[in-house]
Amino acid sequence: MTNPTGAAFCAALALGLLAAAAAALPRRVRPAAVGGATAAAGAAAVAAGLSAMAGRPWSAWLPDLLPLAGVRLAVDPLGGLFIAVTGAVAVCAAVYAAGYSRPGRDGPDAGHGLDGGHGLDGRAVQAMLPLFVLAMLLVPAAASVTTFLLAWELMAITSLLLVVAEHRRRASVGEAGLWYAVMTHLGLVAILAGLAGFAAASHGESFDRLREAADGLPPAVRSAVFVATLAGFASKAGIVPLHVWLPRAHPEAPSHVSALMSAAMVNMGVYGIVRVGLDLLGGGPAWWWLIVLAAGAVSALYGILQAVVATDLKRLLAYSTCENMGLVLVGVGAAGLLSVSGARTMAALALTAAMLHVVNHAGFKTLLFLAAGSVLRATGTRDLDALGGLRSPMPATTALFGVGALMASALPPGSAFVSEWLLLQSLVHALPEGGTVAAVTMPVAVAVVALSAGLAIAAFTKAFGVGFLARPRGAGAERAHESPPAMIAGMVLAAAGCVVAALAPGLIADGLSRAVGVAAAVAGPAADPVTGPVVLRPAGMPSTMSPLLITVALLVAAVVLIGVLRAAAAGRARRRARPWDCGAGPASARMEYTATSFAEPLVRVFDDVLAPDTDLDVTPVEESAYLIDSVRYRTEVADRVEHRLYRPVLAAARWTGRAARPLANGSVHRYVGYGFYAFTAMLIVLAVTR
């Protein structure tokens, strides 16, 4: 095979299968062998993806692999981008997993023997990890409806099995798995219906055939295909209100799996929307993109609001995924909207910003979930209110989580800042070309991006400041210890990737512009959407920004200041002293601010949206109503969408099930009768409609 993309991609698939086979090795060497082989597969996938983004597409047609349909693979720059991202996340997660899956020495995981061989280093769980990565590599490489749906379902099944890996340890895992299983399969049904309808209408199921036929389809069919697939893909991407599985499944999954799901799998939802909406269907009417934009905006705001008030570290990160995928969809929606009004340069820029945000989000979310897993392993808790003081026992994890939090919070030396800057540029400068629709939507979109950026800063300040700094608030945090080297290595890899993406986003500008070029609806402008290795220059506008030079300037300023301070202080040593605390004290850990108290002002400000459930019980002593014996205060911010939207549906389903119980009384004759009547009814319907 002479095509480097194909060679690397096949190598990735082969290595992935090898990794799955390595799960058969004895337990002692299993995690290292599986982790190593999966990391190698990930590295090969990165090579394949980058090669495709460099303009070397590859395709293959394997007619005998599947009966009837065959397997059709094609790696183009857009697919390559997602393959490279998935591969990179897989490398970090696999290296980390080699350490994470081993039974802990003295941590809360020490009770591994109690699992009866069903821990994270169990055979099935270990084999599932490379298979999950393989499935995620196949989704963006699939080039026909059957192949795509098969890869999609494989991805859903393997990830589901990984989510429930720890079901023997916590009861909540099973519930999370159930939610995830139902949501992902409802999503599959929607995608299946949409794509099958698309294939039927265009008399062929290869993506090439769909692309040719899309223009000739009646608008109603095109819209039906788009809306159905959008629903399915949005549920995978964790877009509100289809996000309910995400904040349950991500916290309950083992942390390297959370990283893979949150940084790689949710991207596939975005991939699907871009592939179907902008490539296969070639764009559509403005209302499609307004739906995408609105869903993205709602998701960004709702996600980050829930993240700000969350006290569970991994739940906070999961909601932040909802937020970031929302921001990506804001970019995708803006791109679609602008392409409708003919502003193609701006559309390409918006899509580039969205894709760059996918890359950046994958980087920092991998890092953050891995670091959260490291904390969970060391302390046995994810509750921010019980954490703190991890700086001295876990210096590496603390530093790495700090880097991740900075990258995630849209502040200058961070990677999210670069992509959000590009997104804002495309939104701000859309006005003159965008027409009236843009004039109404873009300001709102800018406000949404800005508010979610501001709240994200608050959320990550809380996560890092309360979770890692200050003093331990619970027993778990007090006996924390640093993680094994393999876990730290996985996090360091992710952090290095983030830093490169943050300081030199120009490096992948070429590949990004090729990936965006695949989307027929926004392709066309001759110039690259973003240029410049050091100073970023979006096409068609005079704005510039250079993350690298900002960082250099900050460092220079800090060095100068240190020099001045040294000279002024004249060598006086720093003395340690008791915190002053306004003369109070000595302060105990109970007097510290917790995550709940940190978020309390924001809960008050956004009271109407969050609707917190608060309980205050005051018990006076028996003799007098004025002497208080005890006060109990409880507050909980539940997911309101889940309560308002899903609980009634679930209750109705349960009620229907109970009401229908008399229909199934155990009599076989009755069941045969049902079959007969249903069959007859169908025949009648067919006879009438034909």
Partner: protein
């Protein structure tokens, strides 16, 4: 990159660094006189800084690297912002590396580090200040970005040099409704960002009402000097930015001769704005913490109207 631009950039950084405490001195003096006190003199903040710098550096037990790094980041970010924002010259060689979004984010970076340092002290006041500062920061963000949107829509760029130069060439832009609405919105968020009355009281002595001061309670000696100096620089940069976005006259372009004039003009503008702010503070009380979001929501509405106006007035 012109020689005049480079000289101008260096000059404005030095002017901000040296003049920021004096601006604070002027504002305190204005307040003192209006309240019927003699006041400590304009140079008092510098004297305070000198005193603090000579003291012994102290690190509270249990604090780490972040606590020590926060004042450096805060001051460093303010210095970089002072170099980027067109205060004295529009031809700063740093202009291209950061636009208005980036400057706002840079200043936010300093605030975030200070909030983390407040949390790091493990005291209740530190956490309280950090929490409140983050609320204000999060709510201020949309207003700032929408005002930027309104101002940059007429120019086609978010680069500050570009915005100021365009206003300079086309003065009637300033009296448009877009500018006025954006000015009101930006004025409110500038007050919030710099922690002045009615959002925060910089000279409060009651810990429970503090926002900014609560975060820095544990700082002493040279660290405190750095924090105070950085806060003064932030105030100067934001006031200067505000002045030059809406009244850029007197700013130097690529000519060296204009530089002294520009330095004087900038000082005059900032002193006038600072004096007005201090005078306004005399007649106002601090808002309750939970009324602040209402104020910020009002400014957000102004900014939104500004953007709407910028489209419908510019349209055919």
């Amino acid at each position: 990159m012109s020689a005049a631009g480079t000289v101008g950039a260096v000059a404005q950084v030095l002017l901000v660094a040296a003049g920021a405490p004096l601006l604070v001195g002027v504002m305190r003096q204005v307040r003192a006189r209006l309240e019927g006190r003699a006041g400590a003199g304009v140079a008092q903040p510098w004297r305070d800084l000198r005193k603090l710098l000579r003291k012994e550096p102290i690190a509270p037990h249990g604090t780490g690297v972040l606590f020590r790094a926060a004042p450096l980041v805060l001051a460093g970010a303010a210095l970089v912002a002072a170099g980027v924002v067109p205060l004295v010259t529009t031809a700063s060689p740093l202009d291209g590396i950061a636009d208005l979004f980036a400057v706002i984010a840079l200043l936010a970076l300093g605030t975030v580090f200070l909030a983390l340092a407040g949390l790091d002290t493990a005291t209740a006041f530190g956490g309280m200040g950090a929490s409140r500062e983050m609320v204000v920061l999060a709510l201020v963000e949309p207003t700032i970005l929408l005002s930027v949107f309104a101002l940059s829509a007429r120019v086609g760029s978010t680069n500050l040099g570009e915005i100021v130069t365009t206003t300079l060439h086309d003065p009637q832009l300033v009296v448009s409704p877009v500018s006025l609405l954006a000015a009101v919105a930006l004025a409110i968020v500038t007050i919030a960002e710099t922690g002045r009355i009615p959002v925060d009281n910089p000279s409060t002595h009651l810990e429970l009402t503090m926002i900014h001061e609560a975060m820095v309670l544990e700082y002493a000696g040279p660290d405190l000097a750095l924090v105070e100096w950085a806060s003064a620089m932030r105030l100067t940069v934001l006031l200067g930015l505000f002045a030059n976005l809406f009244a850029p006259w007197g700013i130097a372009g690529t000519s060296l001769l204009m530089l002294p004039v520009a330095l004087l003009a900038f000082s005059a503008k900032v002193v006038v704005l600072g004096g007005a702010l201090a005078a306004g503070e005399v007649f106002m009380a601090k808002l309750r913490m939970f009324r602040v979001p209402e104020l910020l929501a009002g400014s957000f509405l102004m900014a939104l109207l500004a953007v709407a106006a910028s489209f419908f007035l510019a349209g055919p």
